[in-house]
Symmetry: C2
Subunit: 366 residues, 2 copies
């Protein structure tokens, strides 16, 4: 067992500073769990599937540091990212006499991380928490940057907080047990960083997609690290999404409409974002911002990653209605994250006619 | 109508800076509503009683600044400070297509302010909000300092956030319609500032209690202003209650136990705090920290203000259980705000035996 301090990507915002540790085997590496805030109690928040695989290992790693280590299990799936699930955490914390020093550990994917993070942001007006992402999507995206939230029947992530973790611990070994479909969904967010910020990384992904799909540890380590570096840089410049940070939502305006329109849980978040990126790139091309060739190149990579490039059949009016509810919308105007050039994203409105044309070109027949 | 900019008490924390405006007639004074964040929509959160009295006036004042001014009414009372009520706000905001620039206005007492504030803290991860407190308690305490929360069946204010308003507008004229019992409950928090921070203010209250009870505007203006000044100074030094700010909870550890033990809504918050201050001062005397004479002097003032000085009959074990659930408790140890001297508060633990003795001496017979 290697106990040297793991190497880290640092996230620095005006209000906080924390490390993202990335390595294989971190769950059982003592140095990954040293130096966190002291407390008499720690609570691991997870779901039954992940808890069965890694709950004992994390509990064992934390036992030297906390007198009591509790475990709360939430039902899995985006459709359970609700107040009802969130309240399971509060019930446990209050039932166990937890106090405002209690440290929460989010062990799982994006759903667990978003809910444990929001619980930490609001329990007794804020307790410390640590992200322990066990899906590729959570490791490269949702566990980093402090966005926490639950869903509302009228919109995804509508109720939440910006609340930074104390640390993010990405154990690449946990990706070994990830279902194929979820690995691919995570690759969507990895691919995202290319067109919005780093074309060299995009080319690297094009070259290393087979290795990533085979879960080659060196390839995964580079993909996770570079994704986290880009995200950390963006979040450090704009923690509260007053401007730049919105570029991280490339593909998400269309994607959220798909998730909401189809019902949570039908499409995985990464799948909806993948298809959303195809639409956003096509809209960028439609508006003359990038070449059609580049939009097609992005679409090909997404398809090679086993991700959907054809949107589900939905009425145009329904698309617009769903996207007007997006958090980036202002005064009823939809704000799209589009490509100003390969490797550079920009936020702007678009004529409804162009949007509907692009949707029609990339949708399944009803 | 006087349209000079109203005089203000300023609250400055590391993350924000805002004014508390205090005057009679501010609801209809244009300058009180100028210079707030721009948005296409504003939403007034209130309860049916307060809305009927002041909703139209506030809506009229806001109409020049926002294209649409919506109104959401929440059921009144501490027992309704719940997720269910909070969700009425989210339903309205999403149903009306509000976005993350929408400004919320909390028009009412502490319950409305805490819920509208928490809704503002979490809707789309944070929108601007303005406190328009219409009770004495809210004007001198709950609307200032950025504490927002809802209750959990196992504890008061257990789920919430520190989230500062853009402005606090205290229209003293709204106190004319306040029921007598609520005026007295508000005086409890006014009285609180004396023993914890300012004995000159304490003496002023002793001398001006009749004027305050008769709602003399000059007396109320001084009481509200001095209370806000003290609170602003404390909050400016310790926004997140890592230390000093806890002194503002003088009387609240015992008080929360009374509220929770009797069931929300039986005792008003201010009444429970009043009785809690009697117990906390008596415990301070029991531990030799202040004279019994001073504890009695405080108790006399509280009684003259029409507030309870005898605690309800509850088992000692139940008291301790309820207080161990207090947010200030750490590792199961109750932390009391006690008086180190008249005009100076301090936070510390106390032997159970002393706590139970003091409770027995100041409780009604079962």
């Amino acid at each position: 067992m290697n106990d040297a301090p793991p190497s880290a990507v640092t996230v620095a915002t005006p209000h906080s500073r924390y490390d993202i540790l990335i390595d294989s085997g971190l769950l059982s590496q003592a140095s990954a769990w040293a130096g966190l805030p002291a407390a008499t109690q720690a609570v691991i928040v997870s779901n039954p599937t992940v808890d069965a695989l890694y709950g004992d290992a994390l509990q064992q790693a934390l036992t030297p540091h906390y007198g009591q280590v509790g475990r709360v299990l939430l039902p899995d799936g985006e459709q359970h990212k609700s107040w009802t699930s969130l309240n399971l955490i509060f019930d446990h914390l209050l039932g166990q006499g937890c106090d405002r020093k209690t440290v929460l550990f989010a062990l799982g994917g994006g759903v667990v991380g978003d809910m444990a993070g929001f619980a930490a942001a609001t329990f007794m007006r804020g307790v410390p928490f640590v992200q322990v992402p066990t899906t590729l999507l959570a490791q490269v995206d949702s566990s980093v940057g402090g966005k926490t939230a639950i869903n509302h029947p009228l919109g995804k992530n509508m109720i939440g907080a910006f609340y930074q973790p104390e640390r993010v611990v990405c154990d690449l070994a946990t990706l070994d047990t990830l279902p194929e479909r979820e690995l691919c969904a995570g690759l969507a967010e990895v691919i995202k960083y290319g067109p919005i910020a780093d074309m060299a990384f995009f080319e690297w992904i094009e070259g290393h997609l087979p290795a990533l799909l085979q879960r080659d540890k060196a390839a995964l380590a580079h993909a996770v690290r570079r994704s986290c570096e880009i995200k950390a840089e963006v979040v450090g410049q704009d923690e509260r999404e007053s401007g730049l940070r919105a570029i991280l939502n490339f593909g998400h305006t269309f994607g959220h409409a798909i998730e909401l329109g189809m019902g949570y849980g039908q499409w995985l978040h990464g799948e909806a974002v993948a298809c959303g990126m195809v639409l956003a790139a096509a809209l960028s091309a439609e508006l003359g911002m990038v070449s059609t060739g580049f939009a097609q190149r992005l679409s090909r990579l997404i398809e090679r990653a086993g991700l959907p490039v054809v949107a589900p059949a939905m009425e145009g009016a329904r698309w617009l209605e769903l996207m007007r509810g997006d958090k980036k919308a202002e005064g009823g105007e939809i704000r799209f994250v589009l490509l100003g050039a390969p490797g550079r994203a920009t936020v702007r409105a678009a004529p409804d006619a162009a949007v509907l044309r692009v949707i029609a070109q990339h949708s399944a027949r009803a």
